[in-house]
Symmetry: C2
Subunit: 328 residues, 2 copies
C-alpha cells in the first residue's frame, strides 16, 4: 500500500509543479538535493514524469569574481525580465559555499527586489557537497523550474575551481561579468573563462567609472577577437551596465534574445542541448564507475599506497592501474 | 622455461637500452606501442625495470599550426642542442596521422640534419590509434628515451583535437610556435592553447618578415598578460627565431634552461611531474573502467538506444545511467 500512496503523492507533486506552485517546486528541489537513496528514487520518478514539461526556457549561466556586483546585477536584470512578463528562476552553483557561507548563498536579501517579485523564484544551492553533486542537483533543478513554467533560468556561479565549466555545460548562454579595472583591464581574467563566454558585461558603468567601463568594453571586445568563434557561429559581444542607474539592462536581454534567435535558426541551440544531455548521461555513468573504485573503503588505502609509490618513482602508473583493477 | 628466457631477454633489452643502444630503444618503443596483450605485458615489465633510469631529462612539448615551420625549427634547434653535447629525442603525437600521412610523420627527411646526428633520436608516432592510445605510448616512449640517456625530449604535436592538452600533461615545458600573420597577428589562435604555453616562438623571423615578427612578438607578449601566471610562477616569454639564418636558437634554449632553474628551485618542476604521474595512473584506471562499459559489445547497443531516447527527451540521463549500470 505504501508504494501506491507514494506513487500517488509524486503524481500530485508533479501536478502542483506544472501548475506553477512554488511550495511544490521547492519541495521537489529539496528531494533532488537529498543524499538519501529513497529520496533520489522519488526525484527520478518525479523528473521522468515531468520530462515532457521541460526544456522551454532559455538557460543563462552568469559568472564573475567576487565584488563584480553579481547579486545586484541579477537582482536588477531579473526585475527587468519579469517586467517583460516573463517568469525568472535563479539557481546557484557554489561548491565552496561551506567556507564562504552567507557571502553568496542562503541569502535572499542579496536580491531583495527580485525575491519579492511573484514572477521570480530564487533558490540557494545546497551546501556541503562536491562540485559534482551541486552540478547534478542544479541540472535537475533547472528541469524542475522549467516544468513549473519558468521561462528564463539564471544559473549563478562564483567560479571556484571547475564550477564555470560545469555551469557552461548546463546552460545555453554563458555571461561573464567584469569590472573595469585600474590600469590593465584584462588582468586577472581566470584561465579559459573568457573563451567560454557568449557575452561579457562590464558592471558599475556609472559616474566616474563610466569612461573606464567604455575603455574596458573596447579592450574586451578586442580580446575576444583572439579566440575562434564557437561552433554556433555566434560572435560574443561586450556591453556595459549600470545596475544603480538601470542602464544597459534592455541591451543585455536583447543580446540573449539575438543569441537565441541565431542559434535556434542554425539549429545549434537544440544540438547543444542534446549534447549536454548525452554528456550528462556519460558523466553519470562514469562518476558511478569512479565512485565504485575511488570511494570504496576497500580500495582507498590501496590507491593511496599506489600513488605514494608512483610519486616516489617506484611504480609504473600503468602497472599500478592494473593492480588496482585486478584487486577490485 | 619459456618464462625464464623471456625474462632474460627483457633484462637484456633493458641493459642495452641503458647502454644507449638505439636498436634496443626502437624495439622497446615498438613493444610499448603494440596492441597485443603479451607485448604490453613485456613492455610493462621492461618499463618497471627501467624506472630507476628515467626522469633525468627536460621534456619539451612543441605545438603550432601546419605551415608554421615546426619540422624546420625542431631540425635546426635540435642541432643547436646537440652542439651543446646533449642527446635529443624527438617524439610525435599525431592522432590524425592516418589522414595526413607523410605530412608530419614517418618522414625522417623532414628533419634531415637532425636525423643524421648521432646524438639525436627521431621516432615517428604509431599511427592508427586513438589520441588516448598515442598519448599513452608517448608517455612510455619518453621514459624509454630517458633510460637510454636522452637529456632533452621533444614531444611534437600538430594540435588536432585534444592532443595539445594530452602533450601538455606529459611535458615540463610547453612551447607554442606561431607565424607573424598579416593583419591581426593574434587571429586564429586555437582556444586555450596560448594559455598552456610556457613560451612562444615567432618563426620565420627573417628578411621581409623580420619587422612583422617583432610586431607579433610585442602583440603576443601583451596578450600573455591576459592570463594569470601558472602555479609555478613562471612568466611565459615570446621570442623570435629564424631557422634559415640560425638566429634566436640559443635564446630559446636559454628560456627553457631558465624555466628549469626557476621551477626546480621552487620545487614546482618535481611537483608537476608527480601530479602528471598520478594523473596518468587515474586516467589508466578510468579508461579501463570506461572501456568495460562503453566499448563492450554487450553494452554498445544499449548505450546507443539510451542516448537516442535522451536526445529525444524521452528519458532522464540519470535514469538511463542507472539502467546501464544495472544491466552490466
Amino acid at each position: 500500500m505504501k508504494k501506491v500512496s507514494q506513487r500517488f503523492s509524486i503524481k500530485l507533486l508533479a501536478d502542483e509543479i506544472v501548475k506553477g506552485q512554488v511550495a511544490a517546486l521547492s519541495k521537489a528541489i529539496t528531494l533532488a538535493e537529498s543524499q538519501k537513496l529513497a529520496d533520489q528514487k522519488k526525484a527520478d520518478t518525479l523528473l521522468t514524469q515531468l520530462l515532457p514539461h521541460t526544456g522551454r526556457s532559455v538557460r543563462i549561466g552568469i559568472t564573475g569574481s567576487p565584488g563584480v556586483g553579481k547579486s545586484t546585477f541579477i537582482d536588477v536584470w531579473g526585475k527587468y525580465i519579469t517586467s517583460l512578463g516573463k517568469k525568472v528562476a535563479v539557481l546557484a552553483v557554489d561548491p565552496s559555499s561551506e567556507k564562504t557561507k552567507g557571502s553568496i548563498l542562503g541569502d535572499k536579501t542579496r536580491m531583495a527586489a527580485l525575491a519579492k517579485d511573484p514572477l521570480a523564484f530564487i533558490r540557494p544551492s545546497a551546501t556541503r557537497q562536491t562540485l559534482g553533486g551541486v552540478a547534478e542537483n542544479t541540472r535537475e533543478a533547472i528541469l524542475l523550474c522549467e516544468a513549473a513554467g519558468y521561462e528564463v533560468i539564471i544559473v549563478e556561479t562564483v567560479g571556484v575551481g571547475q564550477s564555470e565549466t560545469a555551469v557552461r555545460n548546463m546552460v545555453d548562454f554563458f555571461l561573464l561579468l567584469q569590472l573595469a579595472g585600474g590600469g590593465d583591464e584584462l588582468q586577472g581574467i581566470k584561465k579559459g573563462i573568457m573563451e567560454m563566454a557568449d557575452g561579457v558585461v562590464i558592471t558599475k558603468a556609472d559616474g566616474e567609472n563610466e569612461k573606464k567601463a567604455k575603455q574596458a568594453q573596447a579592450a574586451f571586445q578586442h580580446a575576444l577577437h583572439l579566440f575562434q568563434l564557437p561552433e554556433s557561429g555566434w560572435k560574443p559581444s561586450v556591453l556595459t551596465v549600470s545596475a544603480a542607474q538601470g542602464k544597459g539592462l534592455a541591451e543585455v536581454w536583447q543580446m540573449v534574445s539575438s543569441f537565441q534567435a541565431h542559434t535556434v535558426q542554425n539549429q545549434s541551440f537544440e544540438k547543444n542541448r542534446q549534447q549536454q544531455k548525452i554528456r550528462w548521461f556519460h558523466e553519470r555513468v562514469e562518476s558511478a564507475l569512479r565512485k565504485k573504485i575511488f570511494e570504496s573503503k576497500k580500495m582507498i588505502a590501496k590507491i593511496k599506497a599506489a600513488e605514494r609509490k608512483i610519486a616516489e618513482g617506484k611504480l609504473m602508473p600503468s602497472a599500478a592501474a592494473k593492480e588496482i583493477l585486478n584487486s577490485q
